[in-house]
């Protein structure tokens, strides 16, 4: 009970501190911008730890953060292997192929009104296919190794990027397009000088959503067949062995990798679309 009430207390304290920081004059410095979510996260972890201990939650239901951290530290070689297999081979290659194909397709779709009308509804339909159904099929087609995981990722990221890019390429204002008309600009001129830059905020929207999709897709696909390495493999076998600390250590890796991946895309976005109102602050 003491720990539970302490958890509550710490939660409130964290919010109070963040409130002070966020509304202080320094709230626009990058230090505070990092500090505030960090404090939030630390508060969350402490509350988690205290609740798990205070309520005596079984290790096989939910391990405490300290236990997870210990497991993480002692399993680095295994985690690194799994990371290579799932993220570097499966997710990344799938992400690059999927996004690249989607961008090319978007241009084709954008050039032809017929394709746009025909392909987008069908595309939306295909995008709605749940991964739990497609993954076993793709494992059957592409084998147990990372290729099938990459294929799952391709399927998952293709349509978000396609839809966003197509929407982005149509995002220019009438006047901006009219201007190009008066110059009698060719398709590719107006593509590179007008439509692509104007579409970038949308494209990055799709690319950012896709980072987390790629990760989750690669991991989940391993549930449906894999070699004996990989984050999804480890998670599912560890659950079977009730090694929940290992499960959470892998989830931690996924969260770290996912945030880094997302952050990287956000950074590239910021440098390329500095001019957009949402980036001007």
């Amino acid at each position: 009970m003491v720990m539970v009430s302490m958890a509550l207390l710490i939660w409130c304290a964290g919010w109070w501190l963040n409130g002070r920081l966020a509304n202080s004059s320094a709230s626009n410095t990058s230090a505070v911008k990092l500090l505030v979510p960090a404090i939030f996260g630390v508060t969350l972890l402490i509350v988690w730890e205290l609740l798990v201990r205070g309520l005596e939650v079984s290790l096989v239901i939910l391990p405490a953060p300290s236990v997870i951290a210990a497991r993480f530290a002692t399993s680095l070689p295994v985690l690194w292997q799994d990371f290579q297999q799932t993220i570097l081979k499966g997710a990344l290659s799938g992400y690059i192929i999927g996004c690249g194909a989607a961008l090319l397709m978007a241009i084709a779709v954008d050039r032809s009104d017929f394709l746009r009308r025909g392909l987008l509804p069908v595309g939306n339909f295909v995008a709605a296919l749940p991964i739990v159904g497609t993954a076993p099929i793709l494992v059957m087609w592409f084998g147990f190794d990372w290729q099938s995981k990459a294929a799952v990722v391709v399927v998952m990221v293709f349509f978000p990027v396609l839809v966003n890019t197509v929407a982005g390429l149509r995002e220019t204002s009438a006047m901006q397009r009219d201007l190009m008309q008066t110059y009698a600009a060719s398709y590719w001129q107006s593509f590179f000088k007008l439509r692509l830059p104007a579409a970038l905020p949308f494209i990055f929207n799709g690319l950012k959503i896709s980072t987390t999709l790629a990760l989750v897709g690669a991991i989940v696909a391993e549930f449906f067949g894999s070699p004996t390495v990989g984050m999804g493999f480890r998670i599912s076998t560890s659950v079977g062995q009730l090694a929940l600390d290992m499960v959470w250590a892998e989830i931690l890796v996924a969260a770290l990798a996912g945030s880094a991946f997302y952050g990287m895309m956000a950074l590239i976005e910021k440098t390329l679309t500095f001019w957009h109102p949402s980036q001007r602050g």
């Binding site: 096989v60 084998g143 070699p227 076998t237």
Partner: protein, 308 residues
């Protein structure tokens, strides 16, 4: 009536016919029990469910149960309806595999999720590494839920149950003589399957013990009924399958195969079988499932009372 929640290890099928029969035939009711059967599936760890309080008793394989016990979840075997193991490795004959030694340098499909332990100790007994292909090594795939890896020849061998996956291979049009099977039972690495497990602390509660005695009694009655009336039992299972995925033919055949495995058991755990299982697991090679002899992992308290 007393409520009992039973967590199964897998989806509704004749593998669990005894429980469905007991429910359907009113055996539980006669013992003043209100039993809810919770089907399992590929994503469910029955041990976790019982730890979380989602079930009173669960059907589990002994390796997983003992592993959980070592992880700090004190599961106790209270009854053992399955006498022998139905697990085996099924291979294409045309790959040239004739004996266990030939498995080296092959690709094998194995079930993980806590079901990999018997395989691992078998391989370590054969002196075959599971780290990758080689003179003394095999490539292990984490097999999904179906027999596709064999049919698509992505693997030379896959894990099958005598009562289930093997027949799916046959149903796919493969003739039995195209295949060669290695039963774990024959290889001397069989471990106990489908036992009933409860949390140790609950056994201190006389009311719970009494409830379990009635439960086990009714369940065994169900199993014996099912062994005698395999076709009717299969029908009962089909009636209880909410997913509508099972076929009558498959379930009837499964029931007759399952009957062979349950036939030797009256429900009480044989201590010899237990010892053999523990020994197999302790020999499990580089990363053993259990590191030391478990204690108090089973009790005859329930069956002694139930079966008299």
């Amino acid at each position: 009536a007393d409520e009992v929640k039973l967590q199964l290890k897998w989806v509704t099928q004749a593998q669990f016919a005894g429980y469905y029969v007991a429910l359907d035939q009113g055996f539980y009711e006669a013992e003043d029990l209100d039993v809810t059967i919770l089907p399992g599936g590929p994503d469910i760890a029955p041990t976790q469910v019982i730890a979380g309080g989602g079930a009173d008793v669960t059907v589990e394989w002994m390796p997983a149960a003992l592993a959980a016990r070592e992880k700090g979840l004190p599961l106790v075997n209270i009854a053992q309806p399955y006498k022998s193991s139905g697990m085996m490795l099924t291979c294409w004959k045309d790959t040239g595999i004739a004996a266990p030694e030939d498995l080296a340098n092959r690709t094998l499909g194995v079930w993980f999720f806590g079901n990999e332990f018997p395989f691992m100790s078998w391989m370590s007994q054969l002196g075959i590494s599971t780290e990758g292909k080689g003179e003394k090594g095999v490539e292990v795939l984490k097999q999904g839920f179906n027999v596709d890896p064999l049919l698509q020849r992505q693997a030379d061998c896959i894990s099958t149950m005598t009562y289930n996956e093997y027949w799916q291979v046959i149903d796919a049009g493969v003739a039995p003589d195209e295949l060669i099977t290695f039963k774990y039972e024959d290889q001397g690495v069989a471990t106990l399957e489908d036992g009933l497990y409860v949390l140790e602390e609950n056994l201190n509660d006389p009311a719970f013990v009494d409830k379990m005695q009635r439960f086990v009694r009714a369940s065994m009655k169900g199993w014996k009924w099912a062994e005698e009336n395999p076709d009717d039992a299969a029908e009962i299972v089909l009636d209880n399958d909410a997913s509508g995925a099972q076929t009558e033919e498959h379930q009837k055949r499964m029931m007759s195969e399952v009957a062979k495995l349950t036939a030797g058991s009256n429900g009480a755990l044989s201590e010899a079988d237990y010892q053999r299982t523990v020994k197999t697991l302790l020999d499990g090679g580089s990363s053993p499932v259990i590191t030391k002899e478990p204690e108090g992992a089973w009790t005859h308290v329930i069956t002694d009372a139930a079966l008299n």
